[in-house]
Symmetry: D2
Subunit: 352 residues, 4 copies
C-alpha cells in the first residue's frame, strides 16, 4: 500500500518502451538531436502556441531556471508560504537567481488568495534601492495541499500580478493532475489565463526524469541556455528526456496516467471520509489526499504495510483543528497505484 | 562513420536492460532507494576503499560540485589550459563555487607538466588577502587531447600539489578509457597516487546519463548533499542512475566497453598514420585520435559520410605545425563504434 | 527642525578634529596602520574581552559580512520582520552570504518575542537537505521601532537560539542609543547575554562613516578578511575609520553624543504626548519617536520647516489603530539635534 | 623616504579643509544631498559629456561594479595579466559579477598589445553555450607597471574591442597621473578614444577615500544603483565623498597633486638611472619608478629609512634580465612626496 509519493513510482511501460526504442545509433548531443527537436515542437503544439521549450532533469532545476530568467537578484518572487520552491528546494532559488528573495504568503490557507496578493502588492516600496520589490508571482498547480486553482482564480491572480508588472510562473510538478481535474486544455490553464512561464513535470506522472521549462513569453528565455549550461543541466545525451516527453504526449498517454492517479485518490479519499473518526482536510482535487485521523490508526496502518507521510499540520483549517490524539497524513496516488491497494488500505482503516 | 563524440552514442544493451529491470514497483526517492545504496557500495568496493560516493546526471555537475567542495570562493583551481572545466563548461565552475577562479596552465602542451605546476606554486602570493591563491589542482584523465597521465606523472603532480596544501581533483569523464590504457586498477589511478576527489563518468562509456562524485577524502564531502540539492542535481527517482552504475560495474562491463572504444581508436589511428599526407598529432592512448590532414581530405571524408569535428589547432606541437592547406581533426570512438566503420573510414581516406 | 534621520547629521567636532590630526604623514595601508591597531584594541577593551574587531564603511557591509561569516548559503537567518537587514538593505544579505535566506518574524510587534522564536525553532525541519534550516538569529538593538531589548529579553532570546545551535548576531546601528538607555556596559549588552557577533555603528552617532564587525566568538571570524576584501570593503587608507573610532571612544565621547540624542527624543516625545490629538505609539526608549497625529498636522508642521518621514503604519498596535484622518510619523534625534529645534517643533505642533 | 605606495599618503590640505567645511548642518542621505548633486555634475562637466557618475569608497568596488554592469556571469573580461583586477582584488570581480571570468593577456609585457587582443578575439568561440566568450576589455591607465597607453594605443585597442562587441572599461586608479603625463583632457583619454566606463580614483591622488564609476554609455548604468546598494557600497552620509571630489576638481587641484607626484618620480628615476649598477626597467611615465638594482643596495637603502616594495620580476623585459645578485623594486611617489626625500634617496643610493 504505497502512498508515499508519486516520485517513488517507476516509469510507465510506454515510456520505458520509448527509451528502448530511442536507443538507435548515434544522435547529436546537447539538445541538437532529432528527438529533442520533435519533443520541443510537440510540446509547443500541445500548448497551441509558439512556446519556447527546454528540457532539464529535475523539477528544482526547472523552477529555479524559470525564476532566474524572470527576475533580477535584487527582486522578490512571491509564492504561497507552503510552495515547493520555498519549502522543499533548500535555497536553490537563491542560488540560481544569484540571490533574489522568496516571500511566502497565505501559509495558513491551502491556496494563495487574490486578496492577499493585491494587499501585498499595493503596499509598494517607498525607497528604492533600499527595499527589494516583487517581480515574480509563482503559483503551484496542484498546490502543495493538493488543491487546484480554478481558471477564474488563476486569471484573477495573474491579472493582479501583471497590473504591477510581475511575471507569473507556474510550478507544474503535478500539472497534468490539475489538468484532468479541471478538464481543460494545457493552453487554457496557462497562457490563456496569464501564465508567462511554466515548469512542466512529467517525472511525477510516469516519466523517469523529464521536466520542461516552457516560456510563453519567449523574450524571457533569452538567458536560458546559458543559465542551464552553467548550472550543469544541459545533458549531453539529450535524446533521453525528449524521448520520454514524446511518449508521454503520444495518444494522450499523460492523461491516462493522471486520470488513473486522480481516480485512485478520489476512491481513497471517499473511503477515508466514511470513517467516523477520520476526516478529509481539503477536497481531493488531484492525486493527493490529506486526512486527519487518530494517531493509533496511523501506527496500525503502517503495521499493515501502509507507506505514507505524516504532514506538518501547521496550516490545517481552524474548523478541523487536529486534536491531541490525532495527526494529519498525506497519501499520494500515482499512475502506478493499484486499485487493490486502495481497497486494502480502506479495509485496513475500517478494520482498525 | 560516426566519430563525432562518445556522447553521441546510445546506451549499451546491458545497461538498457538494467533500466528495464529496475522498473519494478515503488522505490524510495532522493537517493534513499536500494539501487543507490548498492551502487554506492559497489563503487567504493571497486576503488577498494571507504570512498564517499554520490551520483549526478552530468559531468559538469560532477566536476563543479567536486570543485565547490574543495575550495573557497576566493581561491584558485589550477588546471590544464585546455581542460573541459575551463574550456567547455561555460562559467559553471565559477557558478558552483560562488566565484572561485580557474587558472589554465600549459595550454600549449598536451599535458600539464610537473615543472609548470611547481613553478606556478613556487611563486607564492605576497600579500593576502589581496591575491587569490591556488587551493585545487584539477587533472583530466584522459586529457582533452586524448593523452593518459602515467601513474608516475600523477604521483609527481599530486605530490607537488599536496606539498602546497592543494586538494587534487581528477576529471574522469573518460576515466575507464584511461584505466584500460594503463591496465591498472581504479585505486591505483586515483587515491593510491594522491587523487582526493574524482568525477567519474559513465555516460561517455555506455551509460545513458550517469556520473559520480567520489571523495577519497571523506571530510571534503561535508557540504556535498547541500550543494547538490541547491543546484537542482538531486534526482527524485534516483534509482535510475544507480541502476546504470550497477550494470556498468557488473562483470566489468565498463572494461569491455572501454576496451572496444580504445581498440577502434588504435585501429583508426594506425590506418591514418599510414597515409603519407596525414599524421597523428599525439599518440593514441585512449579512444580519441587527433590527426592533421589536408583540408581537401576532410571535405571528401565528410562527403562520404564521415562525422567528426575539426579541432582548434592552437596547441599542436611545433614540429607538427599545421600547414596552410591542412587542418587538424578529432575522431572519437565509443563502445558503439563498429569495426566496419573504422575500416570504411580508412578505406575512404586512402582512396581520397 | 530636522528629524529626518540620524544619518542626515554631520560629524561631531571632536571626530572631525581627530581626522584632521590623523592627517600626519605616511601610514601603512589596508588596516595595517597604527590607528587601526589602536582602534581595534580600544574596542576590544571597551567590550572587556578578546573580541576580534574589523572595520568597514557601511552598516549594510557590517551586517552582511557578519551574517556571511555565521551561516552557509543553504541556511536561514531569523530576524524581526521589520529588521533593517530584511527591509532596507535590498538583497545585500543574500549577496554576501551567497544566497542564504532571511525569515522575518513578528512583523506586527515592535520586538521579536521569545515565544515566537521558540515556536519557530521547535517546528524543526523534517527532511534535510530539502528544507533550509535556521542557523542565525539577528537582533536589532535599538529595534527599527526605537525599542530596546532588556538584558533579560536578550538573554532569553539568545538562550533559545543557542539551544538550537544558532549563532546570534546583533545589528547595533544604534547600539550606543540602546546602551545609554539601558545604562549598562557594552559587555553586558552583548557577549554577557549571549551575542556572538555584533555590527557596531558609529556613523549614526556622530561619525562620518565608521562601522565595525565585532566577533565575540573569534572562530566565526576565520573568513572575514577574505570576505571583506572580495566585497570591496577593505579601505586602502584605513586610518580614517580607525581615527573616528578612537575619537568616538575617547573620554566616552559616544556616550555624550548618544545621551544628547536620546534626551532630545524624550523631550520631543513628551511634548507630542501632551497634545490631545496626538499619541506616542511605542515608549520612546532611544533616539526615535513614533507618533500618530492628524494628517493636517503633518502638513502644517512641514510647512513650518519640519523634516521627518511618515512611517509605514503596518505594525501599529491594535489599540492605537490609525484612523482615516491620521498618519504615523517617525522623528529621529541625533547628537546634532538642537534643543531649540525640539521646542520649536512642539510649539508648532501645539499652535496647529 | 616613503615610496611604498600612493595609498599610504594622507589627504591633501585642500581636501581636508573641504571636509571640515562640508560639516555644516543636516544633509540628505544616500546620495541625495547637495554635495553629491554638485559633484556628479562637476565630473560630467570635467568630461565634457552627459556621463552618468556614481561614487563609492574603494577602487575595488568601482572596478567590480563597472564590470558587473558590463557583462553577464557567463562572459569573460579580458585584461592585462598584471592588472589590478586580476592580481590584487582577490576574487572580487567574480563576486560582483556573479561568477564571470577574467582572462589575463600579455602578462610578460608592460602593456596589452593590439596584436594580442586581436588574436585573442579572432579565435572566436566555436560552440555556444559551452565556451565563455569575451564581453569586456578592461584597460588600466597608468598600467600596473607605471606605463601610459597613448591616445593612439587606446583608440586602436578600443576599436578592436568594439569590433567584437565588447564594452571597454578603464581602471583609472591613477587616472590623473596618466592624464598629466599625456597632457590631454579627461574626455580625450576616455570616451573620445572609445572608453565606455571608467573607474576614476582620487584616493591615490590626495583624497581620503573617493572613487567614482563613470558611465559614458549611460545605458550600461541601468543596474548600477541596485548593485551598489546590495554590495553595501551606498554610503548613508554621502556628502563626504562628494565633498572630496568637489575639492579635488576645484581649480584643477588634482592636476597640481598629480604633477607633483609625477615630477618627483621623474627626478627619482633620473637619479637612479645615473647609477652605473642600477637601471630603470620601463620609462617613468607616471608616478611609479621600476628599477633593478643590486640586492645589497636594497638592504642598505632600507637601513637608511627607505620604504618601498620589491616587485615580482616575472615580467621584466628579457634584455633587462635580473641577475642573481639583483632585484627589482617599485618606488611610488605621491602628492605628499617631499623633494628632499627624493634627493636623500638618490644620495643614499649613490653613497652605497
Amino acid at each position: 500500500m504505497y502512498f508515499g509519493s508519486d516520485n517513488q513510482a517507476g516509469v510507465s511501460a510506454a515510456i520505458m518502451q520509448a527509451l528502448v526504442e530511442a536507443n538507435q545509433g548515434i544522435a547529436a548531443a546537447y539538445s541538437d538531436d532529432e528527438w529533442t527537436h520533435r519533443a520541443r515542437a510537440a510540446i509547443a503544439d500541445w500548448f497551441e502556441c509558439d512556446a519556447d521549450v527546454h528540457f532539464v532533469s529535475t523539477g528544482t532545476a526547472a523552477n529555479c531556471l524559470a525564476l532566474a530568467c524572470s527576475l533580477e537578484p535584487w527582486q522578490i518572487a512571491l509564492c504561497h508560504g507552503q510552495a515547493h520552491i520555498i519549502n522543499d528546494e533548500l535555497t536553490a532559488p537563491e542560488f540560481f537567481t544569484g540571490g533574489a528573495r522568496l516571500l511566502g504568503l497565505d501559509a495558513q490557507a491551502p491556496k494563495l488568495s487574490a486578496i492577499t496578493l493585491a494587499h501585498t502588492l499595493s503596499q509598494g516600496s517607498a525607497h528604492p534601492p533600499h527595499n527589494a520589490e516583487p517581480a515574480v508571482l509563482s503559483l503551484t498547480q496542484l498546490t502543495e495541499s493538493g488543491q487546484v486553482y480554478s481558471l477564474e482564480e488563476l486569471r484573477e491572480l495573474t491579472d493582479i500580478a501583471h497590473q504591477y508588472g510581475l511575471i507569473v510562473h507556474m510550478d507544474g510538478a503535478r500539472f497534468t493532475n490539475a489538468l484532468v481535474s479541471l478538464d481543460c486544455s494545457p493552453a487554457e490553464m496557462t497562457w490563456r489565463v496569464g501564465i508567462d512561464v511554466l515548469s512542466l513535470g512529467a517525472t511525477k506522472n510516469g516519466a523517469m526524469t523529464a521536466e520542461a521549462v516552457i516560456f510563453f513569453k519567449p523574450s524571457l528565455a533569452k538567458k536560458f541556455v546559458h543559465m542551464r549550461k552553467r548550472s550543469g543541466h544541459l545533458l549531453s545525451k539529450s535524446r533521453w528526456i525528449s524521448a520520454q516527453f514524446l511518449a508521454w504526449l503520444k495518444n494522450d498517454h499523460w492523461r491516462e496516467l493522471a486520470l488513473h492517479a486522480n481516480q485512485q485518490a478520489r476512491q481513497l479519499s471517499a473511503g477515508i471520509a466514511e470513517h467516523p473518526k477520520c476526516r478529509i482536510v481539503w477536497p481531493t482535487q488531484g492525486n493527493e489526499v490529506f486526512a486527519v485521523m487518530p494517531k493509533a490508526f496511523i501506527q496500525s496502518l503502517r503495521d499493515q504495510g501502509g507507506i505514507f507521510y505524516e504532514w506538518t499540520p501547521s496550516f490545517v483549517p481552524a474548523e478541523q483543528r487536529v486534536r491531541e490524539h490525532e495527526a494529519m497524513v498525506r497519501l499520494v496516488c500515482s499512475f502506478q497505484t493499484k486499485p487493490c491497494e486502495v481497497v486494502q488500505f480502506i479495509d485496513a482503516l475500517h478494520r482498525t
